[in-house]
């Protein structure tokens, strides 16, 4: 029961979001430096729990992801001055992480700031890393029971990027395969659909922290216990889980989608040809679907769903998928020739 655990932390270092977060007009401002100091205390606590606990910290930056620190990479020990008042491994950890975060943030050029945050890169990197440290072939010990228990904590400040839907889902499934728990700590921004699913599918906890002054306590109570202890101490779980997906055509997050029966690609509106597997759909179906869903949202405006799904469903009343189309005239007649030309183009 009392075996070593490995923690991979993924930090969302979006300059824009942290800037917003530090502004004083936000109800509970939180600067990056305050956050890092809380985080370091948390990481030290993780390392304090057991001597052979291991740690890896990844940073997700605009357009790239980097490994900030890991217990296995040899650090330049000389750079850290000896200090009688601090436990040396903590000192090394603190200094290295602070330094690398600073370096990385410095290196962001102005053009890059708006690039999407590479959470996926950081996530896949941490999975590769966990694969390495938990792979019995790489470890000296042959006994699989002695390998550390891995888990991932994602600290996220940015909203979802729907373009990374497939990659995030693939990462989640590989985490499931590796038996890695993914915990999500969400700061400030609205809930992330994908990360919610990540935590749910891997048995982790998803916690949205509204009051950053209690951040450390949240970290300690919810994210410090390794999975083995969580059977004994209940860790808060999320309430509602949104199983929405992002469509392949416009990367909108949809709750009702049109799915290709051959490859299961999701589209936000009826399309004549599947963009993924080039399957052509019968015209009959297309007409029927278009008729049934005249209010298909135009690309670019994701249908938002507020907290209570019951009163936010701007659906048409004609919801008889198998029935005869009632409002054929509502369907866009111009779509037909387009569909044809598409067909011939892909031939």
């Amino acid at each position: 029961m009392d075996k070593a655990s490995h923690l991979s932390v993924i930090l969302d270092l979006s300059p824009t979001q942290w800037q917003l977060s530090a502004q004083s007009n936000v109800s509970h401002p939180l600067t990056l430096s305050t956050f890092v100091s809380h985080l370091l205390a948390f990481l030290n606590a993780h390392m304090a729990c057991k001597d052979d606990n291991s740690l890896a910290v990844f940073g997700a930056l605009p357009g790239k992801s980097v490994m900030l620190y890991s217990t296995t990479t040899p650090m330049d020990e000389k750079a850290v001055a000896a200090d009688a008042n601090t436990y040396r491994p903590f000192k090394i950890l603190d200094t290295t992480i602070t330094q690398t975060i600073l370096d990385q943030i410095e290196s962001i050029s102005d053009n890059d700031v708006e690039a999407p945050i590479d959470i996926v890169g950081a996530l896949t990197k941490s999975l590769c890393y966990i694969n390495r440290v938990t792979n019995p072939a790489n470890s000296r010990s042959e006994d699989a029971t002695l390998l550390p228990d891995p888990r991932i904590l994602i600290v996220s400040v940015s909203p979802d990027q729907s373009s990374s839907y497939i990659s995030v889902m693939n990462s989640i499934f590989s985490a499931q395969k590796l038996k890695v728990t993914i915990d999500v700590c969400k700061l400030h921004v609205a809930d992330s659909v994908f990360l919610q699913q990540a935590a749910h599918l891997t048995g982790g906890s998803y916690i949205s922290i509204e009051r950053p002054d209690a951040l450390l306590q949240f970290l300690m109570m919810s994210f410090l216990p390794p999975p083995s202890i969580r059977q004994l101490i209940s860790v808060p779980t999320q309430d509602k889980i949104d199983f929405r997906a992002a469509c392949f055509c416009h990367k909108n997050i949809v709750d009702i989608g049109f799915v290709c029966s051959v490859c299961l690609s999701i589209f936000c509106q009826p399309v004549p040809v599947c963009s993924t597997c080039q399957t052509k759909f019968p015209m009959k179906t297309l007409l029927r679907l278009k008729a049934a869903h005249p209010h298909t949202p135009p690309p670019g405006t994701p249908p938002l769903r507020s907290g209570t799904p019951a009163n936010s469903l701007p659906r048409s009343t004609s919801i008889a998928p198998g029935g005869t189309p009632r409002q054929v005239s509502n369907g866009n007649p111009n779509m037909l020739p387009v569909a044809r030309s598409n067909t011939s183009a892909t031939r």
Binding site: H6, N44, Y87, F90, L224, I229, L232, I233
Partner: protein
């Protein structure tokens, strides 16, 4: 290859139970002592690491709270399966005075809280993690290999001395302080003449894993420290400080208290610290010291037997009781010799067999069958471990051949087959009636161990003798 250090220190440490040997010792200390101990961040950190996982989590939950929280609030966090473990954890913490009065409100001991916070966040002026020595151009810091070799040599000298004390060979003697400690702890005794002989608890000691051995000696040292009028808090905090130091670094002796300076000599003898010369102003902790509160193996690889061999175990045991030990370490060979009949020795291999006689000899020395089995399991060759997960049908296939395990246990039971009991044999009764009359009386007292009416005698236990004797005398007196 760089990888996380696997906690190779075997199942034996978890078999010991979740609670560390030192915790029991700490729990027996007074609140005053503990509070003084908690003033050092390094001590708090080390004690924290010795706690069980649930206890650690509880401490962490409470560490950053300024005010006490009501007990029911905390209990609400615990799932129904965890209730029992939670209660145990609370009582352990309270006995350590980390969590006083846990029935109503939960709040950490203020001293402990401040120190542990300081340990985690750094800072403060306690200097409890050891003052690093100034760079010295003349004498460079010893390399980690030097330290390992030193620690290993010291430690194996002690063990070797113990193993071979009975055999008449004369190994290198450890220093006087070590000998005194061994004697005091009851691991060795001078039963016959002036020379020290290993005792049965000494034999048991040899089969423990190095981590347990080290702590057993240190606990003994702590008890001795009390008698030697040393300040226990000073001794303990020095040990804890050592455990948080970094391998391969020099530390200065300047900030040590007189007690701690005195300890340097003892610890040097045990191989826990290294000093260039006794008067040196600097010392380096060895791996024995830095792994005191961790589960990584406290001893580096044994001399010359290869990097992986020792760490992963070296014993292959076959179902035909043959045992192959891939080692060239005389200590390991000597320990094996305790319960194995060694047949042949090769440069890196010892072949032997577990026989009735060899196990009997071990049992006679006070070693139990379970200890033999656990030693064999702990040091089993990786090749033996490999076979375990492959059998997917039976969930838990034992590491060692079942026949051998059972036979060792049976041999132990064999020892218990004959039970001796002192008593008296009553014989030469004049008549059958006399015999039965006395026998009946003895039976009423429930002291008859054996009877034979054909031979007209019975055997009564020692405690029944005065009564029976009195009874016979009275009867004889009445007859005459």
């Amino acid at each position: 290859m760089p990888s996380v250090q696997p906690p190779t220190e075997d199942s034996a440490s978890s078999v010991e139970g979740t609670s560390h040997a030192l915790l029991a010792f700490l729990q027996s200390q007074s609140q005053n002592t503990l509070t003084r101990l908690y003033q050092k961040p390094s001590s708090c950190l080390s004690i924290f690491r010795l706690l069980g996982p649930l206890e650690r989590q509880l401490v962490m939950n409470l560490l950053w709270l300024e005010s006490a929280i009501p007990a029911p609030t905390m209990a609400a966090w615990v799932t129904s399966e965890g209730k029992k473990a939670y209660e145990i954890a609370l009582s352990v913490l309270s006995r350590l005075h980390v969590l006083p009065q846990y029935t109503v409100k939960l709040a950490l001991n203020v001293t402990f809280k401040t120190s542990l916070r300081q340990a985690i966040t750094g800072g403060g002026t306690s200097g409890s993690f050891g003052a690093p020595a100034e760079k010295d151009g003349k004498h460079p810091t010893p390399s980690i290999e030097t330290l390992d070799t030193y620690a290993l040599e010291r430690w194996e000298t002690i063990l070797h001395y113990m193993v071979s004390s009975g055999t008449g060979r004369n190994p290198t003697k450890p220093s006087q302080g070590v000998l005194y400690l061994l004697q005091r702890s009851g691991l060795m005794a001078n039963a016959h003449g002036p020379s020290l002989q290993i005792t049965s608890s000494g034999f048991q000691f040899l089969l423990h894993n190095p981590h347990a051995q080290l702590w057993e000696l240190l606990l003994q040292y702590l008890r001795m420290a009390e008698e030697r009028q040393m300040d226990l808090v000073e001794v303990l905090s020095f040990l804890f400080m050592l455990s948080t130091m970094e391998l391969g670094r020099d530390y200065s002796v300047e900030h040590l208290s007189p007690t701690q300076t005195a300890m340097l000599e003892d610890l040097r003898d045990y191989g826990i610290i290294w000093q260039r010369k006794p008067s040196s102003k600097r010392f380096s902790p060895t791996r024995l010291a830095t792994t005191l509160t961790s589960s990584s193996p406290p001893l580096p690889t044994s001399s010359g037997s290869g990097a992986d061999g020792q760490r992963q175990g070296f014993i292959i045991l076959e179902t035909n009781y043959r045992l192959y030990a891939y080692t060239d370490n005389p200590l390991q060979t000597a320990v094996l010799n305790l319960f194995v009949t060694l047949k042949s020795r090769f440069p890196n291999l010892v072949v032997g067999a577990i026989t009735r006689d060899s196990v009997k000899k071990a049992l006679a020395n006070g070693i139990t069958a379970d200890q033999i089995i656990s030693y064999l399991t702990t040091h089993a060759h990786p090749q033996m471990r490999k076979n375990v997960p492959r059998t997917h049908r039976t969930k838990q296939k034992p590491l060692l051949p079942v026949t051998v395990q059972d036979q060792i246990r049976l041999w132990e039971l064999e020892k218990n087959r004959v039970k001796s009991q002192e008593g008296y044999l009553y014989t030469a009764f004049a008549s059958q009636a006399d015999y039965e009359y006395v026998l009946n009386y003895a039976k009423q007292l429930d002291v008859v161990l054996w009877e034979s009416s054909a031979k007209r005698c019975f055997f009564g236990s020692l405690e029944g003798h005065p009564n029976i004797r009195g009874f016979i005398e009275r009867r004889a007196a009445g007859k005459s």
